[in-house]
């Protein structure tokens, strides 16, 4: 087991003017035994960063440390890592047993008996001991996934690297494997880096999230911290499903004039906003309320565009009556509440649930309020993480 330090790492592909920066000056400390999830959209550099840690790509600048050693010059075989690939990358010509023992044969001096014993116990752990004589082509996707995990754990490595390991599975199996990987990581306590573009996986699996976009680090923090205290508009929009609604507007005398409605900024918001002229207001679909009649004078009228019933909840897509563009925003309502497309409702965005972002930089300038207990828990979590990673 080992801690990992990523120090000012930059990766460029190509030369000169054609070069593309895939990872842009990222620094990160991952403590021993931690489960860290790299999350971001396609092309955010998350996989490249993991491949640099694995030694499958060489960084253009910066250092990678695993344990206490700088491993820049070492190939993957010398880094004592195990990796699970998106397409599993099981060796098609070998049986499950041979797949699992290949790494031990290549990287250790263990005798054949020891290898067999180790493989059998890892196979039992992953519940694939009945499949040892099968070839990968004969297995289902879920079984292949378990074999790929088994092949990683049998090596007892310093670090697990998992590159979107669940993305080829169907939804039900994915949820099961998510729990399984969490359990494995807890039991084995091996430092784990996990790459995903799926924000549900990111939220549910990691001790900490590393949110990346265009190769740049956006935020590092616990899942709840990134969700409730996003560092910028990108993180706020990326985490949470459906995404946070954003309304851009100009500030005029304490009022944000957005397209279709005006929003009176509270004093606290005005202090946060300072003398900025343009702001983006952010509110999550589950925080916005819809009323049939106006209840407060903060509300604005909107037309229901589309209703998506999900069962216990429904997603309602709305447009403000007076807005000039076509964009809709989403509100989550109780699944039993009747609402029809084309009807008019009054939209209330509660003051305390609002995030404000700088319109130019996207940086968060005002965070929502939380329940006092949640606030304390979040602060504690942030301190634990920051003190342990120092």
């Amino acid at each position: 087991m080992a801690r990992i330090t990523i120090d000012d790492v930059t990766k460029r592909f190509g030369d000169g003017d054609d070069s593309v920066v895939a990872v842009d000056d990222v620094s990160l400390d991952i403590k021993d035994g931690e489960f860290v999830v790299f999350v971001g959209p396609s092309g955010s550099g998350k996989s490249t960063l993991m491949r640099i840690v694995a030694g499958l790509e060489t960084q253009s600048e910066g250092d990678i440390e695993i344990g206490d050693a700088v491993v820049n010059q070492l190939g993957p075989r010398a880094r004592d890592i195990a990796m699970v690939f998106q397409n599993y990358a099981l060796y098609p010509n070998m049986t499950v047993e041979e797949n699992m023992s290949f790494g031990l044969k290549m990287s250790t001096d263990m005798s054949d008996e020891e290898i067999e014993e180790t493989v059998t116990s890892a196979a039992e752990m992953m519940d694939i001991d009945k499949l040892l004589d099968n070839r990968p082509g004969e297995l289902s996707g879920g079984q292949q996934q378990r074999v790929a995990l088994g092949r990683a754990i049998v090596r007892d490595p310093n670090v697990f690297l998992m590159d979107e390991p669940l993305s080829n599975l169907d939804a039900k199996l994915r949820a099961e494997m998510r729990t399984e990987i969490n359990r494995l990581q807890n039991d084995l306590g091996v430092t784990t880096l996990y790459v995903t573009h799926d924000q549900t996986e990111a939220m549910t699996m990691g001790d900490r999230l590393v949110v990346l976009n265009y190769g740049e680090l956006q935020q590092v923090g616990t899942p709840l911290e990134c969700f409730y205290r996003p560092a910028n508009q990108f993180v706020a929009g990326f985490l949470g499903s459906p995404s946070m609604n954003f309304y851009e507007g100009e500030v005029e005398g304490g009022t944000l004039r957005a397209d279709g409605f005006d929003f009176d900024l509270t004093e606290r918001m005005q202090t946060s906003a300072g003398d900025r002229g343009a702001l983006v207001l952010g509110a999550r679909p589950e925080d916005i309320s819809l009323h049939d009649e106006p209840v407060t004078d903060h509300e604005f009228e909107a037309v229901v565009d589309v209703v998506e019933p999900m069962g216990s909840i429904s997603y309602v897509y709305l447009q403000a009556v007076n807005q000039s563009h076509d964009q809709t925003f989403i509100v989550e309502i109780d699944g039993q509440r009747p609402i029809s497309e084309g009807s008019r409702v009054y939209v209330e965005i509660p003051d305390e649930d609002i995030h404000l972002f700088d319109a130019a930089s996207g940086e968060t300038i005002h965070q929502r309020k939380l329940d006092s207990e949640a606030e304390i828990a979040l602060e504690d979590g942030m301190q634990t993480v920051s003190s342990s990673s120092d």
Partner: protein
């Protein structure tokens, strides 16, 4: 379904089972007649080789005859034929081994690494097959004579390699392209060197492709006649040339020709049967590897 159809005239329409049976019958009839088209010449050749001389080419053909191995015994007693047969086996066998040793790694490198002007390199390799053989046979002859390769086994092996190399490189490149790169990466993470990854993971995964190009290369070299005719005279004569020698300017020794031709098929047939299980996968150029 047709059986549940209540429209008028539905009684005349066939139900699903009958339709399926009909399709199966038509399909089998087609396959049987195609098999006949493919196999009949082989049968004709083999039956000719088993007829006594004089009867081989009789018209109308003797459908019923007493088979004899007379022609084969005659053939085996001709030391020239045995010599040419062995010659061909050695030369073609060596050329297949060498063309794989050169072509497979080349294809792997072209598939996996960023080679400058990769497309041009590939087309350049293919260009060796763009001219009709008759156009290059004279230059070959002059070059071979200058390099003292004329009528040598080594010369013939080199010639066979030049015929097959582009095929091996192109087919194997397509095959390697179909094998996910993550396999080598998994092997490297598992502690293998790049070469071990190639040898222990990629090569076995590419086995169907390798056997396919091996058999095709073998056949191409085995049946080569034109270059053998021009580039050999005595020492390195391939078996094709010997078979050709039964076609004289005045007469054709049909039964001997048939026996020699049948004998020529045997090594190819043995090779095909030996690697049969890889061929179906190999001739689909790696598609089965992808998951």
């Amino acid at each position: 379904m047709a059986t549940q159809d209540v429209e008028p005239g539905s009684a005349q329409r066939l139900d699903k089972d009958t339709r399926e049976t009909l399709v199966t019958v038509v399909r089998h009839a087609f396959l049987l007649s195609w098999s006949f088209v493919v196999l009949f010449p082989l049968y004709w050749l083999a039956s000719m080789s088993l007829k006594p001389p004089g009867q081989a080419n009789s018209l109308p053909p003797d459908w019923i005859f007493l088979p004899t191995v007379y022609n084969y015994i005659q053939l085996a007693q001709q030391s020239d034929f045995v010599g040419a047969f062995v010659n061909s086996l050695v030369m073609v066998g060596a050329s297949v081994v060498l063309v794989l040793l050169i072509g497979v790694p080349a294809a792997y490198v072209l598939s996996r690494y960023d080679i400058p002007m990769e497309r041009d390199v590939l087309v350049w390799i293919l260009s060796s097959r763009m001219l009709p053989p008759i156009a290059v046979v004279l230059p070959f002859f002059i070059i071979f004579r200058e390099l003292n390769l004329f009528d040598t086994r080594i010369g013939m092996v080199l010639m066979y390699i030049s015929i097959n190399l582009s095929l091996v490189v192109w087919v194997m490149k397509a095959f390697f392209d179909g094998i996910p790169e993550t396999l080598e990466e998994a092997a490297r993470v598992d502690g293998a060197t790049q070469f071990q990854g190639f040898r222990k993971v990629i090569l076995p995964a590419a086995k169907p492709g390798i056997f396919s190009v091996a058999i095709i290369s073998f056949i191409f070299a085995w049946i080569e006649l034109l270059f053998g005719l021009v580039l050999t005279s005595f020492e390195a004569v391939p078996v094709t040339l010997f078979v050709y020698s039964f076609i004289g300017s005045r007469s054709i020794e049909w039964s001997m020709l048939a026996a020699a031709s049948t004998a020529m098929i045997i090594p190819v047939a043995i090779f095909l049967i030996a690697v049969n299980k890889y061929l179906a996968a190999g001739l689909s150029f790696g598609v089965v590897i992808k998951e």
